[in-house]
């Protein structure tokens, strides 16, 4: 029976399963994107595997197959890539007491996985901690800056300052801050936004009024210029003989007034009572 015990298919199956489990828990694949810290009874053992070094060549990193003591060593994975901590929709007061809604993010990389594991236990832990620290850094920095600064090239400087502040705080977690950026820094909904919009509106109304008035002014000037020019044309011409102009113009005027000028018909009819002394009727008297 003893010899056949190992020939029993089920026994063999179980044994190979156990071997498999043992293999699987001994060998671990460390990908390029991860760093691994090995904990033995919750105490870190040795140096972290595939730890981040600046300017590494892929393929020459610590990634690959590693072995550990099964069931005793625990692998804590730490991402090696650039990670993201988002600080969203938080109200911050600028130094001129203007409330701002700020969205910002920090891009970071865990450069000291051992320290990170000791201080924050996990990636989630470190991200949460960083979001808090980012909030603090933003508040402190923006609290020292007037709102207007964010609307100038100074904005770069503000972001750099926040990054410096955050880096100081984040070093304890074994984290390198790659970049801090303010995504939004906007006026909050409600009265600040309303009043800004209102200011824009009134500004535009004023602009519209100015433009209309300017247009009217220019139109009047054009009109006046034309009148002056016309007057000068008339004067030059008529001044040749004011007496004849008087006569000629009155003749034109009679035609016009009494409705003879077919181009400008007048309303109503006219009755004329003439005295025989009238110059027109002087021949009536038969005088010579």
């Amino acid at each position: 029976m003893n010899g056949s015990f190992f020939r029993n298919p089920i026994t063999i199956g179980i044994i190979s399963l156990l071997v498999l489990i043992l293999l699987a828990s001994t060998f671990v694949i460390v990908p390029e994107t991860k760093q691994a810290v090995i904990l033995r009874f919750e105490q870190p053992v040795g140096q972290p595997i595939n730890a981040y070094k600046p300017n590494e060549q892929f393929g020459h990193t610590g990634a690959g197959l590693i072995a550990r003591v099964p069931f005793i060593d625990r692998v804590v994975w730490v991402d090696k890539r650039v990670l993201d901590a988002e600080y969203e929709n938080q109200q911050v007061l600028s130094s001129d007491q203007l409330p701002l809604i700020v969205d910002a993010y920090a891009r970071f990389r865990v450069v000291d996985p051992l320290r990170m594991v000791v201080t924050a236990r996990s990636e989630t832990g470190v991200t949460e901690a960083l979001v808090q620290l980012l909030g603090t850094s933003i508040r402190n920095e923006l609290g020292n800056q007037p709102f207007k600064t964010l609307l100038t090239p100074e904005r770069d400087k503000v972001m750099e300052n926040i990054q410096t502040r955050l880096q100081k705080l984040a070093t304890q977690y074994g984290v390198e801050i790659v970049d801090v950026r303010i995504k939004h820094a906007d006026l909050p909904e409600g009265s600040p936004l309303e009043s800004a919009l209102n200011r824009m509106k009134t500004q535009r109304k004023q602009q519209a009024l100015t433009i209309r008035a300017e247009g009217k002014k220019e139109a009047q000037i054009i009109q006046a210029d034309a009148e002056a020019q016309a007057a000068s044309i008339y004067a030059t011409s008529f001044n040749q003989d004011p007496d004849f102009y008087d006569f000629y113009r009155s003749m034109q005027s009679y035609r016009r007034t009494f409705g003879v000028d077919s181009a400008n018909p007048t309303a109503g009819s006219t009755s004329i009572i003439l005295s025989p002394d009238n110059a027109y009727l002087k021949q009536f008297q038969g005088k010579r």
Binding site: K34, M200, A208, M251, R255, S275
Partner: protein, 373 residues
């Protein structure tokens, strides 16, 4: 690989006591029916292809399974197989198992070692997680799966990110503290597959966050009118430049192909006021045009009248008295021909009005000329 070998072994052993196996003549195969042919398990599966196809009855599969189950139920006594009557067709059951397993392995190897890489793709290869190279387009072979793994990355496909996500405005502040509603899109692709795969945790999100940050930064350095009008192409170029710098800093392997502003308008709430400014500009132009038209008319009228006078006057100068008389008579003729005339002889006689049935309109003008009064 270890796993698979283990399984192979196991299945081979399960059927090693089959009395009429195709490897019946095999060297280390145990006696038929004795059930202790475990040694054959190691050699048996090495040569599964040698089975003639004719030797494979269709019923073999179920019967092999039945047998396996029966044996499993039987409590696993090593020699238990001896009492069992041999099943017809069972001889090739073991072979079938082996063929099945071998084909699974073959399929596994084929599927995990052959990689057709399309022209727009690159394949990033890792051996046990470690970077081992990048596959160019074509039909490529790597070691099978647990050893090598290939991540295909589409490097030519240009992805587009739209801001804002459909619906809702995308308000941002300009240099003059005005608010702008700006919609834009960013086109990007991957120019370094290794960096793209290994350096960034969430590429799409990174591109989006970078774009938003860069856009707001650039707009914050411009005033509203610039941002809505002439400055647009400058914004696009600057945002692209800034994004690329930031993404390079992250070693993201991403190339920003372009930034396009789709619309830059004032927020909905103040849009009417902005439209009114445009309307005012049109109004101003219209007023000027009208004035210019009227002015042209006025001047042309003056010129015409002056020219008329000049012509007549030049004739008049030649014969002043006659011309004057002629014009006078012609005018009087024209005027009086069309009017009702009354000639009152004696001064001091008041005309009685209405004077004649010739009056056509009750409210006509009455002109008393000369000594009529």
């Amino acid at each position: 690989m270890t796993i698979l070998q283990g399984w192979l072994q196991r299945f081979a052993i399960l059927h090693s006591d089959n009395p009429k196996g195709p490897w019946g003549g095999g060297g280390d195969k145990g006696g038929s029916g004795s059930g202790d042919g475990s040694g054959g398990g190691k050699e048996g599966p090495r040569n599964p292809w040698s089975i003639p196809p004719a030797g494979r009855p269709r019923s073999a599969g179920p019967s092999a399974l039945d047998e396996f189950l029966r044996r499993a139920r039987g409590g696993g006594g090593g020699g238990g197989g001896g009492g069992r009557p041999p099943i017809p067709g069972a001889p090739s059951a073991r072979a079938l198992w082996l063929i099945g397993i071998a084909s699974i392995i073959l399929l596994w190897v084929v599927f995990t070692s052959f990689h057709p890489i399309a022209p727009q793709q690159r394949g990033v290869v890792t051996y046990f997680g470690r970077y081992a190279g990048t596959l160019d387009p074509g039909f490529r072979i790597t070691p099978p799966s647990p050893i090598a793994s290939v991540t295909k990355v589409d490097v030519q496909n240009i992805r587009t990110e739209n801001f804002p996500e459909p619906g809702g405005p995308n308000l941002m502040l300009t240099n003059d503290q005005n608010i702008l509603d700006l919609a834009f899109s960013v086109r990007w692709n991957i120019n370094n597959p290794e960096d793209y795969v290994f350096q960034i945790a969430d590429p799409t999100n990174t591109v989006r966050a970078t774009a938003e940050s860069a856009m707001r930064e650039v707009v914050a350095n411009m005033n509203l009118d610039q941002a809505m009008g002439a400055g647009r192409s400058r914004i696009e170029a600057e945002v692209q430049d800034r994004m690329q710098r930031i993404l390079n800093e992250y070693k993201s392997g991403i190339l920003v192909q372009g930034v396009a502003i789709k619309q830059a308008i004032p927020p909905q709430a103040v849009n009417d006021a902005f439209k009114d400014v445009t309307a005012a500009q049109q109004d101003a132009v219209a007023a000027k045009n009208n004035a210019q038209g009227a002015a042209q008319q006025l001047i042309a009228g003056a010129q015409g009248e002056a020219a008329q006078f000049d012509k007549v006057y030049s004739q008049y100068k030649l014969a002043p008295e006659v011309t004057r008389r002629r014009i006078y008579y012609e005018t009087m003729e024209a005027v009086l021909a069309k009017t009702d005339k009354t000639i009152v002889e004696t001064p001091g006689v008041l005309p009685y009005l209405p004077l004649s049935p010739g009056r056509k309109l009750p409210d006509a003008d009455v002109v008393v000329n000369g000594g009529a009064k």
